[in-house]
């Protein structure tokens, strides 16, 4: 049972949240211009990271805000939480999974 530090409400139990997979996916500006393969890549293909995963969560039973979590999928340690629109902390990028 994770303890997730909602950037708005503070630490709350996992059951209040809902995970939503990989973060920082950007919807293509002009989907019509993409090939089927490129579109399928946006739709379906994910990293399935072993190591530090940047993922989206929503505080479903709390403030209903979406935010980002940096979690090590090997230990489930939450290394960082940050608001939508913020970029991941730079030091995390250097940690090799």
């Amino acid at each position: 049972m994770f303890l997730i530090n909602c950037p708005y409400c503070g630490p709350r139990e996992e059951s209040e949240f809902h995970p939503a997979g990989e973060a920082h996916l950007k919807r293509p500006a002009n989907p019509e211009k993409l090939s089927d393969i490129e579109w399928a890549d946006y739709l379906f293909m994910r990293q399935n990271t072993k190591g530090i995963l940047l993922e989206r969560w929503v505080h479903r039973h709390g403030c209903r805000r979406w935010f980002n979590v940096a979690r090590d999928t090997r230990t489930n340690k939450v290394l960082h939480v940050y608001q939508m629109g913020d970029s991941p902390p730079t030091q995390l990028k250097h940690i090799k999974p």
């Binding site: 994770f2 139990e13 809902h18």
Partner: protein, 1001 residues
Amino acid sequence: MSAGYRLQKGGLIDRKTRLNFTFNGQAMSGYEGDTLASALLASGTRIIGRSFKYHRPRGIFATGVEEPNALVQLERGPRTLPNQQATRISLYDGLIADSINCWPSPDYDAMSILGLFYRLIPAGFYYKTFMRPATAWRFYEYFIRHAAGLGCAPTEPDPDHYDKMNAHCDVLIVGAGPAGLTAALGATRSGARVILVDEQDQIGGWLLNENRIINGQPSKEWLNAAFLELNDTADAQILTKTTAFGYFDHNFIALCEHRGPTQVNGNGLSRQRIWRVRAKQVVLATGAIERPLVFADNDRPGVMLSGAVRAYAHRYGVAAGRRVLIFTNNDDAYRTGLALKEAGVAVPAIVDLRHDPSGELAVAAVRAGIEILDGSAVTRVLGSRGVTGVDIMNLNNTGDGVIGAPRRISCDVIATSGGWNPTIHLHSHSGGKTIFDKRRGIFLPSKTTEANFSVGAANGTFSLSDCLKAGMKIGKQAARNAGISSHNRRKAPVSIKEEEADSRLLWIVPTACPTSHKSRHFLDQANDVTVSDIQLAAREGYASIEHAKRYTTLGMAPDQGKTGNTHGLAVLSQVLGTEDPGETGTTTFRPPYTPVTIGALAGRDVGPLMDPIRMTPMHHWHELAGCAWEDVGQWKRPWYYPQNSEDGLKAVHRECLAVRNAVGILDASTLGKIDIRGPDAVILLNKVYTNSWESLKINRCRYGLMLSEDGMIFDDGVTTRLAKDHFLMTTTSGNAAQVLEWLEEWLQTEWPDLRVYCTSVTEQWANITICGPSARALLLEFTDDIDLTNESFPSMSMREGTIAGVNARVFRISYTGEISYEINVPASYGMHVWTALINAGKKYGITPFGTETMHVLRAEKGYIVVGQETDGTVIPSDLGMNWAVSEKKDFIGKRSLSRTNSMRTDRKQLVGLLTENPTTILPEGGQITAKQTLSTPTPMIGYITSSYYSAVLGHSIALALIKGGRELHGDCVFVPLEDKSIVATVINPIFYDIKGERLNG
């Protein structure tokens, strides 16, 4: 059976309070403070049950959670609990316990003949014998399950209740032995919020089983003082009879508290409670579990752990036997010899695997006049139904064989010790690593992944004085790590350190003949796994301990192999030639540490509280009207309202006809409603719906389809423009929360610049829908400020006004094809408006109708239900709904509609089906084929999504998704069932009022 194993004095029992209990129907008694095991031992009961596989007689072996043999069925009737360890049951007056796995009694067990055939039942016997042919297992399983021993689950409903408690603390300490207690004292004195848990009924841990000196006082007095100090500290909570059974992510620990075996009736207390603890720091002072020496026939009743024998003497005032032989590889067992001697029990010898034991305890034993047989081993146990004596031989130099002539010694108990295994289960649950200490032959906790410490015996620190010191230090450290600024300089209590010599590791004690020949060396007594089983598994290629465990069932019994696993591992390592069990690795420790009842895990989530029942404002009207309910998510919705002796079908016919011919009334309050406001609201709607929203005029409504990004239909509903920048969206009942979250997801993650606020108003508004030819006349009676003529209030529009004196929004939205008013009033007035309409509507024949009628009526019109006509693979064109899809703008899911797969012409498309016989109702979900005669395999071309009897048409109707269905209008298709194949004609999926003339009344 002889009585009188109770010592004259000593123990923590209250000899003034006698407790009566029944074991296997026989009346017995013990004292307050006894466990069932100690009371049975005191009464001289040697055989408690029969073993799992061979039905060998078994007695009490241990004193705590590690007990493999003494499993009983506790109590009878609805409160019965199977496979309870007698060592963990605190005795109470009136207790009833029975042996498991034996018939007719443990002394004379009909199945014990199996023991003679043990060589025919090696490891993997069941896998090898009963698996071919595969179907035969079902036949064999019945007999095997009956022959194998497990207790009985209760068959009646549980009369007790269980609950859960959430708790938070700075420091959670698991185990209230010397290390845990000093840790608790250290942490509380620093000012930390502390929870101290222990599985026993009082604090003290192993110290309860010893008579030691701490701070110059008897250890029991120090325990009392520690208890009083903690008990008086407001932020220290002591939980006894509570087992920490699982250690989960982010320092979340689950505890199970036993709140008493019988205290249940009337006072509202739960029988057991699960504690969900979130701790900043965890101190694991879980102690150690003694392991036996593995020698021939080491499972005979009377073979016991040395520490347990000492515990029964010290704590319960019970002599485990009259002549107790000690068999050890270490110094600690000498304490048992000394304790027994002092209590007046005969100790014929201490048999030690080591040569020349010379520690201070050995010296004390010699002084006490106990004979020590060093460099020797027990090679044979006499007495099949209980130990009567042993043969002892000298070990050879390497320890893998015996030499010389056996010497016979008579005894009735063998107290054996092979050393102590640190209890690393919780450390391991938390993801902590372990290392193998070769010198001592034990696994120790190493790297942690959560914020925790292991301390005391759990960390390989076995001496009392070291435990006291380490506990205090770690307690203070944990408080500091939890962010408590410490001003606590108080010292740890002290105890005299008794120096102990090294033990001698000999994983298998040799006999005069090879192992597995005649005599058996048991590793796991609960599951009857022997040394030769592991050796066989290794020879057959099960080189991984995880495989060998599953193949032999080592450690898979209720005790989870707490006394035998390390030996099993060592034996496997020996066969594999690695000699170092650390390299072979341990099996994975998984929660729960000890079994937890399902009742406790369920807690309060049972019966009516299992899942919330969501009620609409008119719920209790429906209930009084005797409706049948349909579950829609957590909502209860009226399904239909049977009258008199009507069955469901008749009720639905009546309700359908009432709507088509008069007026019906429906509680549609469960529809999701989202208030959308802001200058960019239209932009948002354009993105999430497939159609365009700029042109929608104020007070007009529009139907919309919502797709996932993969193009599949995910919701539909009608949205109304309340003002230029203000909309009210409706969603399907089941998707209300998901749709709101969907809107928020896009607004917050992709388009944060859009100025839109979404607020759920599902619960704010009751929706009372009246529909049918008389609906307008009825509504006319209730409003004087809304003009109900078609001209000023056309279909798909909204008017605000007063209905029955209540401010209302009335929508002309029809899901039935009839003229229809969805009256939205604040939920608090829902019941008022509903009953007013019902009362006034009598003269029009107003008929309340439920979801089933609604579904029939909408199917007659060919309107879809999301989740019935769609299943996550359906795109708008499949349903012929491209009229709702804009070509001119982008929207979520649009790109997916032009993927190759979406453009296929043989996609399944929505059609209507009519059967030849008007009364034949096709089964929903029925598969559809193109040909009547079936040869396997026959391709399925589609399936039925909705199917009803239409009362107004006098004919059954069905909707179906069929490959290329729109090209098949007029063709026949077939629905093959078990005994027949039904023919149906494909038609356009609108059955009634095709021109839509009834919509305006």
